[in-house]
Subunit: 656 residues, 2 copies
């Protein structure tokens, strides 16, 4: 029988050799955690490499993403078909599935992109939440899996780890098991240079079970996993390890963290560990043992499939559809019927209120929508009337109280989206996008449908002042690749933008919504989703167009007022509403040109000019903010900062 | 003698009445914490309202910044001259010092801007670090003050609180005392909706002393403060309070958190508490008692002044100068001498290496520079040869190992800058600006000279892949008001940008620096800091200029190569290096026009186009990224994404 040691050394040599060949990478962590990974993947993880998307598989998240070779090693060793030895050999090369950090979508078995520290463990908490939510809907027979995490000191030092730990403890996510690679090493040297927390006590203070083991002892590892699996709380397993375990002279040194070990060191390691195989060759008995371990899951999966087949057909369909991310049939027709009603009602509402009205309609049509807010439910208006709060004791609800944890919320939502089964959306104030931006970036990079409901979107929030008033935030989010930033002008546009967000399966969305009331500007019903083109002529000029006012969100009202004045002063002026730059950029040149017009272009938005030059051109003008806001009632602020219809009129007249 | 109760009720009524008058604000917290604040400010805080900038004053940070009326109340009551009752009456009105959240620079006594949760306590940790650093330099006789914080559940739920707590515990900041307003209320309802941490155990796990008291009992409050003052560790005092304490029907309800109590509720409160005075009138005996408490500090300050006068004159001068933010005389001459040397040496260096070379020179000239990195010292190259690490036992050093805590680092640096005495700079990878952006925003809003050294600034970092490759980050930072984003092209520009960052007393700076080596492009010495205008003609066209290539940082090399080809193909082309957009925007139109030229403009930068349209105009072109990066060696990536001199040449030729 192949020894544990040999099987673990397979990870060590694949990792050391791949990093050496790439001349860059992180061998220390995979070598240090090889024993834990070997025990976990050969004995406990439920997965089937031939059916890597099996819904009830255990999830694994390598929060310490720089140790990506750990992941590529076990994916290859257990027999994931797309993780060939050629891919391992091409570690960190252009086009390989084996990127420097694990990238979701590159190879099957990578459950989430990791590398930005602390986010892996937090995303895993989201997956564990999704498991509980699905379990409450389908029962233990169909949904019953663990979420395993390997985290390093970096992950536990990052602030977001507190949001993860606190939430997991509060919600009693007992099927979450975190291995902490307790190697006492960080890049700047020994961990003791910068931290001295008692992690076990810290986790216990937040409601976790915590164990400490020798991370190189397979029996201790196995016993700890079994104990954690039975626990009624989330579990931390602190694994005392040596970074770069096995390296003859560098074991235990931070020098193994982020650089190749060197040919000599690896040659000596081969001698010391009795490993004769050439780089990227795994002795056949060892590979066979790994492959057999990888095949363990087939029977488990087949038994699951039988149980699944006993569900009623509707439940089966819903399970498959929601896991795949499809939306219910006919929801668009229902949404359009509601839109028609809205056009007739023409309500004067803040767009955050309009968003709640849209949610009231949509959440009934699409029950897998999972709402939430970072403790601003009554301000963000993110809870639909039909929604029920999720609590520690009852996961049958569909609304999350994420707490005052914006960054956590965003990473949880990534995990929920990645897990499948739900369409997560969550709210906070727009300005606090800054707190969670690093997770929004991963939504975009991983192409996840996560919807950010960001209210209080300008100085229009008034008295709370500049710390709460976004001025640059919309621009900074527009800068993010693969993210649709919507800033709707009224209730109808808000609904349209919600519909687009739901339809964007591969793109996260931001809905920037006003605190203050806004008049209806869209009162004529059309089935066409006009916001889908990103910008459109809301009101054409009477007469040959000489000027175009381009506006978004709450400033569309100002644009319309300015147009009235300009028209009556004999300057034919159109108003373009531009709820989404990113979608506008996808239109053809003719549409863009026709929309923006040949004449003078003046843009008005209660934010900074950054990026607007693209649309107004060199003869254009921008009416907006030039710096931070101030504390005062909203109407006073608009006047103070000169964001008024008078200013727009003047800018047009100076240029016509 | 005036009772504690009356004095605390003065805070309660000022807060309730001001919020009522403003028709917005947060009365619950000031009312709940009025007892703690009264004991602290009348008996323990060392401060002198007539000399509010006295260097050795105790610092107070209202981390739960929404409770700003607590602050305005005690500032008025203790006799800060600029906090008149008129200001209190004008709470949340345009131009008042009494903004919705405490804004640094509005009223004296506000030590930092708070409101974005979790950052107050973290900034306070920075202040406590600065105290220890100054104490190590000047001794107990001159620097010996406490930093007090009031934090709410929101602050302790935010992830950044972990970075603050962990750091304060590790560094044993025993003069930091945090009052936690343990009222069990958040906006979504009871705290138990979203959290159930044992905060005392949590703080203890990170090396703090923790006490729990009745936050309405003045004797318990006093005893806890005295115990905390004597502790050898940082202290948490958990104050069990009722939010909105004193409100007859709303006490204890989340309804008091963020809305006026209502006229009826306040009228009843007046009856219940026996408070006859009209709004904004404090009975004279109570005001007198508060003012006397405010005058306690005069003698303490005078005694301090006598001790200070005994320092040698050099030390006195340095203390005053560094607290005021002035730099040593003649440092610019020394820096220029080094620049001259650089021009002669023309080193081919990564700009992160050039930055370290600059630091080696500058840190000797300006010893108050305080370096640091979020555990990437060897990558960011932020430690100068002369610098010594600060440790728990020895604060005489000048280099901080901030740990894997980017957000914490940024907020600590804000606290250090606000405290005075040091010029903080700190490093991480540019892409992780996203982790700390919310604190960078406060650097900008508070006009603090904090310098962010952000290396690995593009796909040029290579194999670590898209999670580590900024593409949108520079744009997102350029969007931030009052922040200078520098992206220097070689060693000379790097030095110039460092000099500008040091000279920007009211503006934080970002230095975006390359991982990869770059050739020297500035080899002719001029005393003039050419980077100071933000952009300049690095190489004029030979012949009448027909095209201008605008580039930043690592892409200036590509621009120069393209120019050579274009010149030899008969197209006179200039290269403009543009290390700082923000400074370029401050130049007059003539300079801008002369620099950018009339001809075809092509910009090249290994980032997104966002914002570049302003400079290239509608006939221009941009060569850069269009989405996220990839994992591969840097040269392969430049080729793959088409950021090459060939692409620049082609773009010019298509347009000339």
């Amino acid at each position: 029988m192949t020894s544990h040691k040999d099987m673990a050394n397979a990870i060590r040599f694949l990792s050391a050799d791949a990093v050496q060949k790439a001349k860059s990478g992180h061998p220390g962590m995979p070598m240090g955690m090889a024993d834990v990974a070997t025990v976990l993947f050969t004995k406990y993880m439920n997965f089937d490499p031939k059916q890597p998307k099996w819904a009830d598989r255990d999830r694994f998240v390598l929060s310490a993403g720089h140790g990506s070779m750990l992941m590529y090693s076990y994916l290859y060793l257990t027999g994931y078909e797309d993780m060939t030895i050629e891919e391992v050999r091409n570690f960190r090369q252009l086009g390989a599935k084996t990127a420097g950090h694990p990238e979701y979508g590159h190879a099957t078995g990578i459950e989430t992109t990791t590398g930005p520290l602390g986010q892996g463990i937090t995303t895993a908490v989201g997956m564990a939440i999704a498991e509980k939510l699905q379990n409450a809907r389908y029962g233990d027979e169909v949904v019953n899996h663990f979420t395993y995490v390997i985290a390093g000191d970096g992950c536990l030092m990052e602030g977001i780890s507190h949001e993860a730990i606190s939430t997991a403890g509060h919600l009693n996510l007992n099927k979450l098991i975190v291995f902490w690679d307790d190697n006492e090493i960080t890049i700047d040297g020994n961990l003791g240079v910068a931290a001295s927390d008692n992690q076990l006590k810290r986790f216990e203070a937040s409601g976790w079970d915590a164990q400490a083991i020798d991370g190189h002892n397979p029996d201790e590892i196995a016993a700890a996993i079994e104990k954690a699996q039975k626990s009624g709380k989330p579990s931390l397993i602190a694994c005392k390890t040596k970074i770069g375990k096995g390296a003859p002279t560098l074991e235990g040194s931070h020098k193994t963290h982020g650089a190749p070990l060197g040919d000599d060191e690896i040659a000596q390691m081969r001698k010391d560990l009795g490993w004769d195989a050439a780089p990227f060759e795994i002795p056949s008995d060892i590979l066979k043992a790994w492959r057999e371990a990888g095949a363990r899951g087939v029977a488990t999966r087949e038994a699951w499939q039988e149980r699944f087949n006993e569900l009623d057909l509707d439940a089966q369909e819903t399970f498959v559809r929601t896991n795949d991310g499809g939306l219910p049939e006919n929801w668009i027709d229902s949404a359009n019927a509601y839109k028609k009603q809205l056009c007739e009602d023409a309500p004067k509402k803040a767009t955050r209120q309009a968003s709640q009205m849209a949610l009231n309609a949509l959440c009934e049509m699409i029950p897998e929508m999972l709402g939430g807010s970072a403790d601003l439910t009554g301000s963000n208006l993110t809870k639909a009337d039909s929604q029920k709060s999720v609590t520690t004791d009852d996961f049958s609800g569909n609304y999350m109280h994420y707490g005052i944890r914006e960054f956590g919320m965003a990473a949880f939502m990534n995990g929920i989206a990645l897990h499948g089964g739900f369409v997560p959306y969550g709210g906070t104030f727009l300005v606090f996008a800054d707190y969670m931006r690093a997770a929004m970036r991963l939504s975009a990079l991983m192409e996840q449908r996560v919807i950010y409901v960001l209210t209080h979107d300008s100085i229009g929030l008034g008295e709370d002042g500049p710390t709460h008033q976004p001025v640059e935030t919309v621009a900074s989010l527009r800068a993010m690749p693969n993210t649709n930033v919507f800033r709707p002008a009224d209730a109808v546009e808000t609904l349209e933008c919600w519909m687009l967000a739901l339809q964007s399966e591969k793109t996260p969305s931001v809905l920037a919504l006003s605190r203050q009331g806004l008049p209806a500007v869209r009162t004529e019903y059309s089935e066409e989703n006009k916001s889908a083109k990103g910008a459109y002529v809301l009101r054409e000029a009477d007469g040959l167009r000489k000027a175009t006012i381009i506006a978004t969100g709450s400033e569309v009202e100002i644009a319309m007022q300015a147009r009235d004045v300009l028209q009556s002063d004999g300057i034919p002026t159109a108003v373009v509403s531009m709820p989404c730059w990113e979608l506008f950029e996808k239109q053809d040149d003719a549409y863009k040109h026709d929309t923006l017009g040949d004449g003078v272009r003046v843009a008005v938005e209660a934010g900074l000019q950054m990026g607007w030059d693209r649309y107004i051109g060199q003869n254009g003008a921008f009416i907006g903010m030039t710096g931070f806001g101030a504390s005062a009632p909203a109407d006073k602020l608009y006047e103070h900062f000169g964001i008024t219809s008078e200013a727009v009129v003047q800018a047009v007249k100076e240029r016509v």
